[in-house]
């Protein structure tokens, strides 16, 4: 009895997303069973647990807000949750589907739907933090299971989790990897991107495409100049900034300015 009361109550909620970050949990294997011993899973629909209305200690949020219903639902979840943590690019920055924000959203909807007046969807895809207070963000598209385990462990010890905002380049250096940009001229987003994935793209010989979001003090303008030096045209560079985390700063403003300048 006493033991169950001390276990943190945890919920996993889904908003607009591909489910890949929840899968990071379901892919934990043995560690998942171990995790369920240490916390009490209250709501995790994909794993069969339904308790969306209950009070919890930690709520993990996957996905972005793209419908009026989701905008309301996140307010309730915030009220029920002591700590609210976003998992993945969609929840943390609006995700790839935030590309609609920079287009003429209404025109897109009208082009796709014969009767857009009946569509229960917003013209934008927005990060959870644009709607409610977020206590901690886990970046990544997708996140990996270790990130979740680290956060839960920190919670079990009663300490704040450690945010990872180093640049990917540092990971390549730590791993002793040869730089794909310097040696092969591959346009790599590593200099402006968070660590956390383990430098996967450079490990297979390609440039990073920033799926872990902007690092601390990311110098996106400097990287734009470097990419121009590699021979990329403005349009190609804008596409790289306006990709998985297109709605996160500084990617959004630098990318959009670049895009506007090639439309002129």
């Amino acid at each position: 009895m006493a033991e169950t009361q001390t276990k943190p109550r945890v919920a996993v909620h889904k908003f607009s997303s591909c489910d890949g970050c929840q899968l990071a949990l379901l892919n934990l294997g043995e560690a998942l069973l171990d995790l369920t011993e240490r916390v009490e899973l209250i709501h995790f629909a994909e794993a069969g647990l339904l308790g969306a209305e209950e009070q919890v200690d930690i709520a993990f949020i996957e996905g972005s807000v793209t419908t009026p219903g989701e905008a309301k639902r996140i307010l309730n979840i915030r009220q029920q949750s002591k700590v609210l943590i976003t998992i993945g690019a969609c929840a943390t920055s609006g995700g790839i589907q935030a590309l609609r924000n920079q287009a003429d959203g209404a025109a897109w909807m009208a082009e796709i739907y014969p009767s857009p007046q009946f569509i229960d969807t917003l013209a934008t895809s927005t990060a959870i933090a644009e709607h409610v207070r977020v206590d901690f963000e886990i970046w990544g598209c997708p996140i990996n299971g270790q990130q979740i385990i680290d956060v839960v462990k920190a919670a079990l010890f009663g300490v704040a989790p450690l945010a990872q905002h180093d640049k990917l380049c540092l990971d390549c250096k730590r791993q002793g990897r040869v730089c794909v940009m310097v040696t092969q001229g591959e346009p790599c987003m590593g200099p402006v991107t968070n660590t956390g994935c383990g430098s996967l793209c450079p490990s297979v010989g390609r440039g990073c495409f920033a799926c872990y979001g902007p690092a601390e003090n990311a110098n996106a303008t400097g990287l734009v100049n470097r990419f121009q030096g590699l021979g990329l045209v403005k349009q190609e560079i804008a596409q790289r900034l306006l990709f998985i985390n297109n709605n996160a700063e500084p990617f959004a403003s630098v990318g959009q300015a670049l895009k506007d300048s090639c439309d002129d």
């Binding site: 889904k14 607009s16 997303s17 591909c18 489910d19 890949g20 970050c21 929840q22 899968l23 990071a24 379901l26 892919n27 294997g29 043995e30 998942l32 069973l33 369920t36 899973l41 995790f44 629909a45 994909e46 794993a47 069969g48 647990l49 339904l50 969306a52 793209t66 989701e70 995700g95 790839i96 589907q97 590309l99 609609r100 287009a103 897109w108 082009e111 796709i112 739907y113 014969p114 009767s115 009946f118 569509i119 229960d120 969807t121 895809s125 598209c141 997708p142 990996n144 994935c197 996967l200 793209c201 490990s203 297979v204 010989g205 390609r206 495409f209 799926c211 190609e236 596409q239 998985i244």
Partner: protein, 432 residues
Amino acid sequence: MTESREVSIRVPVLARVEGEGALDLSISDGELTNVQLRIYEPPRLFEKFLQGRRFDEVPDMVARICGICPVAYQMSAVHAMESVFACQPGPWVREMRRLIYCGEWIESHALHIHLLAAPDFFGYRSVTEMAKDYPMEVRRGLKLQGLGNELIRILGARSVHPVGAAVGGFYHAPSKSAVAELLQKIKQALPEAEALVRWVATLDVPQHEQQFHCVALRHEHEYPINEGRLVSSSGLDIDVSEFQHHFKEQQVPHSTAFHCHLNGEPYLVGPLARVNLNRDKFPEVVKNLIDELPVKWPSFNTFHSALARAIEVFYALHEAVRILSAYQMPDQTRQSITPQAGVGYACTEAPRGILWHRYEMDQQGEVVNAIIVPPTSQNQARIEADLRQSLQDFGLHNDDDALRQHAEMVVRNYDPCISCSTHFLILNVDRC
């Protein structure tokens, strides 16, 4: 039915499906008057924002449609675009694409059998409850799922949204030592995969046959994954480019995803359809195991879908052993691409069934137009037809809870991955 009553059962959140869906049932005077699987996964407009993107960005974009089957999206996309660019990546790439796809089948099927479907058969709410009573079976499932993920990782660096696949081939080749190590692990797991098949065959499932069309790819020399003609149990045999002449997507007011019909009728895609149409292409070791099972093939009992998944896990592990055993380092891992304008089609066998892509590309290699037809939207009409019959067979006199549980079990059989329904039409005319 002697009893006369009116009930309306709503299941607002369907647990243990990937993505979001809900189910509405209405029964009046012992007859089912309304069966609606409602999809309320919000539209994410992928086909729209693919426009104007260069070919080399497309594999990373389409992966994000579905976190459960990103490899399928990448494979359909690269094959379709290569057909536009007249690119033929050669035998090494062909085998590696089969290998990474085997990984996804194993991962997705093992996940579905153990975490999503099995708790139904034993009456548990979730796998964590079930693990307390069936620790060995659950651990075996998690281990096989993990091996599937490792197969994806050896080429893709990670299992969700892998980064290895490119138009023209792969960004890198696994080392021979990494291959040898994984081969060893997979060989050791083969007896466990066999035990999985035998275990799933013993599960007590309802014995009701239905009539439906099965649709799958079919290849002359192999069990279909990346290539083949589109065939059906009712005699269809077409090139994948002819898909739109025979299959029509249709809007339904109660769902945000389209329903797809074959010549006006619902049809089944996925593991059961594949096994029904292609089991003659399995290697002897798989055929022999199937012959020992107490199930007759082809099977038109959709509750045999879980068994079909287990059989495909067993097959995919054997196929991985075959490919890894013959592994050689390639001279080059990918062809360089010279873009040209045109239209290309591809269809591959995602874990949940055929995934059809069509791309129109311009001279610069940018997408002009994309159409994606995922398996879940194709199965939707079939799921509703199944529910109508399964619930009658189950007995409408059962109480609401039992009916709801049975209905959910029927739906979960199809492993509906609702986040992969890429184009939507919310048209709730009743509301206004």
